[in-house]
Each structure stands twice: as structure tokens, then as C-alpha cells.
Symmetry: C2
Subunit: 240 residues, 2 copies
Amino acid sequence: MTVADTLTKKTALVILSGGQDSTTCLYWAKSRFQKVLALSFAYGQRHIIELESAKQICHKANIKHEIVDLGAVFQHVSSLTNTNLEIPLANAEHAETLPSTFVPGRNILFLSLAASRAYVLNCDSIIIGVSQEDYAGYPDCREDFIDSMEKSITRGLDRPIKIEAPLLHLTKKDTVELAVQMPGCLEALALSTTCYNGSLPPCQNCNACELRARGFRQAAVDDPLIARTAMLTEVVHARD
Amino acid sequence: MTVADTLTKKTALVILSGGQDSTTCLYWAKSRFQKVLALSFAYGQRHIIELESAKQICHKANIKHEIVDLGAVFQHVSSLTNTNLEIPLANAEHAETLPSTFVPGRNILFLSLAASRAYVLNCDSIIIGVSQEDYAGYPDCREDFIDSMEKSITRGLDRPIKIEAPLLHLTKKDTVELAVQMPGCLEALALSTTCYNGSLPPCQNCNACELRARGFRQAAVDDPLIARTAMLTEVVHARD
């Protein structure tokens, strides 16, 4: 094993949506890996504004960032990618059925693409911000899926690539508490996007907004995004 | 279970490159499933001519066909997608190393995307034309990868979707013999593209051309593609 091999043994590729969880994962990776890279996907999400967040966060964190454009791959399959479908309100859905915001195969696809990039960029780990506590029963956020996908990727590439999901067993409260511990992370969260509707300030009505607000409330931490966007609103009002 | 459910139980989604193996799989599926759909990918392959083959084959077979454009996802990672790299000649490579034509993660990605489409289109099976006999050690053509990927997809979508690889244990000779048994298949193979260089007539120098030629030779069957393109060449010469 050469020196170069030893160094590249510690490279992480973070799947960065620009939301709260993946931003926290980015800082988690920064605190544990010698080198961190970030990968985002444009897949027709109506909250495309999150990619602007991802860019700003990587700029702030000094992380090399790549956005892969998946075009119309997921068009028409989910309320997250089809503007003719309504985003459900928080608590409006039954736990037994998958919410309309489920994008079938999204994490399978994101992990597959990340694996291909990880292979080329010599990364040992892919970091993904899924949490099976908080995701309304999305099957591609569960541990058994992540474990299975790691095996598939390792077999398909004939190279061991770990999938690490540091938030898998954390609630949103735990995630906020983790963010507080990592230098710079809260400031980066001020730039993140969570709202399914892509609103700025956040709509505070969708499931994603509600989960985020509850986590910060339970951790007794002020959400820096709210403070930042409240200021933006004041500026807009002052211009009126 | 409704009548509609019973009918949709027999729908296959064939991953169709437009090559010999996936064309044979298309006819294999036609002979076994009530409904067959086909999915192709544009991923910057230099043999992009194969997508024209896929279209013509589906038209001939009366199969609904979708092409998903993956843009520049695989750019620069393989001699198949980067025109600055040379396609190796047949037998020029050592079996111990992966050939430069290996596109890392290609079948992981194709199966992931097919899974998402299969979910939306209510297909029970994805058909893929991989063969572990013939593919120069590509790890994503092996049975243990296919088995693992089937588990990952079923877990990630929370719905059982089978991955069927009818050519997995067949040699190219076996595949030709299978094609001969299925009405219309040989005529469709006349429209298929195999050459890694995307040449018409085929270059006959790359690994893919060599494998195809050997299979037809061993099965003692004339390759209808050669007959068709020889005719094309004659026409071109006649015009000179």
C-alpha cells in the first residue's frame, strides 16, 4: 500500500440535498474524514431552491461540490416532483400508506450514482442523511435497505464502499443536538432548505417544516434558518 | 385481488440496450409475459447508434419503449463514454484487471432506474441481459450482484420486484440458440448494435464484435446483422 492509498482511505462523499440532515452529515463527515466531497442531484424537485442552499453551504464549508442533473427521471411520480399534485399538510396522512411525497427509488438511485462517483473519486465511504425515526415510513430510509444497498454496491463495483448513515437512529431533536456540537454547523443550517414547497421563509405547514420545527423546539435551540428568513421578510416588508 | 391486479402481475420491464443480449431478452420476455415494456438509457455511450437499434427493434416487436437521458453522469469514467480513450482490441486485456470499457456502477444505476419505472408502471419483473459467462469479469454482471440488487430494490420500494437475467448462465452460443427458437428474434437481431465503436458495418475488432461473431459461429448460425450491413456496404460502394 502506497502513501497515496493510505491518504485516500479516508475520503467521504456526502450526498447533500441542502437540507437540515444532509448539512449536519456534511459537518459530521468534516469532523471525521481527511477529505470530504459533496454530491447533489437535480431531479425536478419543486424545492429546487435546496440546490442553491447546497452550493452556499459547500462554499462556506470549503467543500468541493458536484451537482448531477437527472433531468426528468422522476417526473410525474410524486408530489415532490409534479407540481400538479398537492404537498400534503403536516399530520394529514395515515402512517399505513406511503405519503404522496415518496419518490419511488430515489435513495436507491442516489446511492447508485454516489457509488459510481465514489469509485471514480476513490472514496471509501458514502454518507447519507437518512433517518428511520422521522421519515414517515419511507422504505428507502430504513436500516435493512441501507445494509442491503451497501452489499449490492460493493458487489457491483468489486470494491468495498461503506454507506454511513449517522442520523439513522436519531430523532430530529438528537440531530439538532449533534449539529450544535460541530463548529460552523449551525451557521450552515441557516443556509439550508427544508420546506417541501421550497418557500423562503419556510411555509411551516408541510411535514418537513413541522418535523424541523419540532426538533429545534425539543432541543431548545433557535433555528438559525428562521432567524435569517425572518430578517429577509423584514427587508421585503421594508421595501413595500 | 381485482382482475386488474391479476393482469398486471405479468408485466415485465426489459432493459434494452439495443444489443444482441437485451434484444434476445426482449423476445424471451414476449414469449413469457402478458405485457412487455422496454427501457433504454442514453448515458453518453459512444455507440449511441444502439438507441436507434432499440427504437427500431421495439417498433418491429410492437413494444412500448422509453429512453431515459442520463446526461453526463458517466462522462470521463470509461473508454465506452470518453472518446479520448481507446477501445481495447479483442483479447488485448488481461482477465485479472477490469477492462477500460467497464463503466463503474452502470448496472447498479440501470437497475435502480428500472426499479423506479417498474414501481410506477406496476411491473413485477425487470429483465436484464447480463451474462456472467461472457462479460470479461465485469462485477455487475455476476449472479451475487443481481441477487443482492433484487433484495435492495424490494426493500427500498417496499414491493417485491424480481430481477430476471435469463442469459446469466448462457454462453453467446447458447444465446444464439435461444434466439433461433423465438419467432421474430433473428429478424430483430439484424437491427441490433453490438460494436463498442458503434460502427456499421461492425468493426469486428473490439471485444464485443469478437464475442458476438464467435457465438454465431459456434452455433452455426449466420448473423443477420452481418448480412444486412454487408448489403448496406454494397449499396454504399455502388454509389461510389
